[in-house]
Amino acid sequence: MAGLEGRIALVTGAGTGMGRSHAEVLAERGADIVVQDIVEDAALETAELVRTAGRRAHVAVCDIADGVALAAVIGEAAALGPIDVLVNNAGIHALTPFEEIAEAEFDRIFAVNVAGTFNAMRAVLPGMKDRRRGAIVNVASTSGQIGTPGDTHYCASKGAVLGLTKAWAKEFAAWSIRVNAVSPGPIATEMTVRNRGWEGIRERAEKEIPLRRYGLPRDVSYAVAYLAGDGAGFVTGQVIPIAGGLAIVGI
């Protein structure tokens, strides 16, 4: 498999959970990492893990919903070199019944999950076009594919990420920039464990997930690494669901 030696990858929301795992796995394959997060301490910790893996790290702290701030911190990362890989991982989730979703909550979900993805793409695109290469991996969700109750705004925002993925694949293919998405299903992140507890996770796994377990962040990171590398050089506009057999849809 093609490694990522000499590549520079921007991973958004890389301070915790799946984003941190993506940063670690890409670093293990040889990439230097721009660690973006809104929480500085978390980003610094991830940067340390990247350095432990023997790669360079640059920390970029900002609210991804703020396009101007993001462009500024990404500009500072130029010291590391040009960005070849963008992993649009930053995202937020809220469990709120439809009737109770206030406008501000709706707006914030879309500001981070959709506008944040848009902002990061804007920040790296000129350089990728100049060099005529780049790999974008957006993080969708099986919730955006099949719907889940109790988080309609989140489902819609992830559906939007799928739309961006497909449109960008077509718009930027002429510059050899590939755009794909991973679509995680039930993954045992720190947040999942906090919300459901291990007992709840085991119960749901047995009842609902064909492979009878939750995924681990690494299961998703490996798909990110595959899509980011040259081994996926003829793959663009596609979605890889990592869901243990949930969300067997589409064609």
Partner: protein, 248 residues
């Protein structure tokens, strides 16, 4: 790179084209490859290429449309960790020109062949509670084409098998996925089109601006075959340069 060391992979139709490249790629990652083809010479040639590259290969031959032969040949293989259902056939035809025999052969090679290959190997996979099945669909089976409706139908049936098997075999930890190639540069492509036609196709119809290479598809197969894809089942991985972006 996740190694496939210690794994045995059966690849059907591995005597040429995509199947041959799958054999080379999986062997390069450490798998011991069983090269199947109906044409013994072609299979031996693939096995020779694998061995020359330092890999491990053996050859089996049977007609993939002959269920008794499949049971006899594949039933004697012992442990198979990875099955790549690659054997296929293709002929450009309008519906009026497709005879009943051609229709039957198209379905038998793709659908019946894959079906009974898996039925034969499944008991051992179930007993060992693991295994990876990778089917070969096609962009044409996802999106249709102006000709070759029997081929499109057969490839769509492969998608149905993939999704159903994923659910049926999941309790035993057996993962089932499909790769779905678009237009790939194989010997057959070179035979059927002029260089100018190929350039034209790449420039006008394939967003990424080139045809696929067999390696592009083999890399997807190798990824799905590896433990890195252990939480993926029932999915279709299209490798088509952006020419076909569908589903969700």
């Amino acid at each position: 790179m996740t190694s496939l060391a210690g794994k045995t992979a059966l690849i059907t139709g591995a005597g040429r084209g995509l199947g041959r490249q799958h054999g080379l790629t999986l062997a390069e990652r450490g798998a011991s490859v069983i090269v199947h083809d109906i044409a013994g010479d072609a299979a031996e040639e693939t096995a020779g290429m694998i061995r020359k590259a330092g890999g491990e290969a053996r050859v089996v031959g049977c007609d993939i449309t002959d269920v008794a032969a499949i049971k006899e040949t594949f039933g004697a293989l012992g442990t198979v960790d990875i099955v790549v259902n690659n054997a296929g056939t293709h002929e450009a035809r309008l519906i009026e020109a497709i005879s009943a025999a051609e229709f039957k052969n198209m379905m038998d090679v793709h659908v019946k062949g894959a079906f009974f290959t898996v039925q034969t190997l499944l008991p051992d996979m179930k007993e060992r509670r693991g295994g990876k099945i990778i089917n070969t669909a096609s962009a044409w089976g996802q999106c249709g084409w102006h000709t070759d409706s029997h081929y499109c139908g057969a490839k769509a049936a492969i998608l149905g098998l993939t999704k159903a098997w994923a659910k049926e075999f999941a309790p035993w930890g057996i993962r089932v996925n499909a790769v779905s190639p678009g237009v790939v540069m194989t010997e057959m492509t070179r035979l059927n089109r002029t260089d100018e036609e190929i350039r034209d196709l790449a420039e006008k119809h394939i967003p990424i601006g080139r045809l696929g290479l067999p390696e592009d598809i083999s890399n997807a197969v190798a990824y799905l075959a590896s433990s890195e894809a252990d939480f993926i089942t029932g999915q279709v991985l299209p490798v088509n340069g952006g020419e076909f972006i569908v589903g969700i």
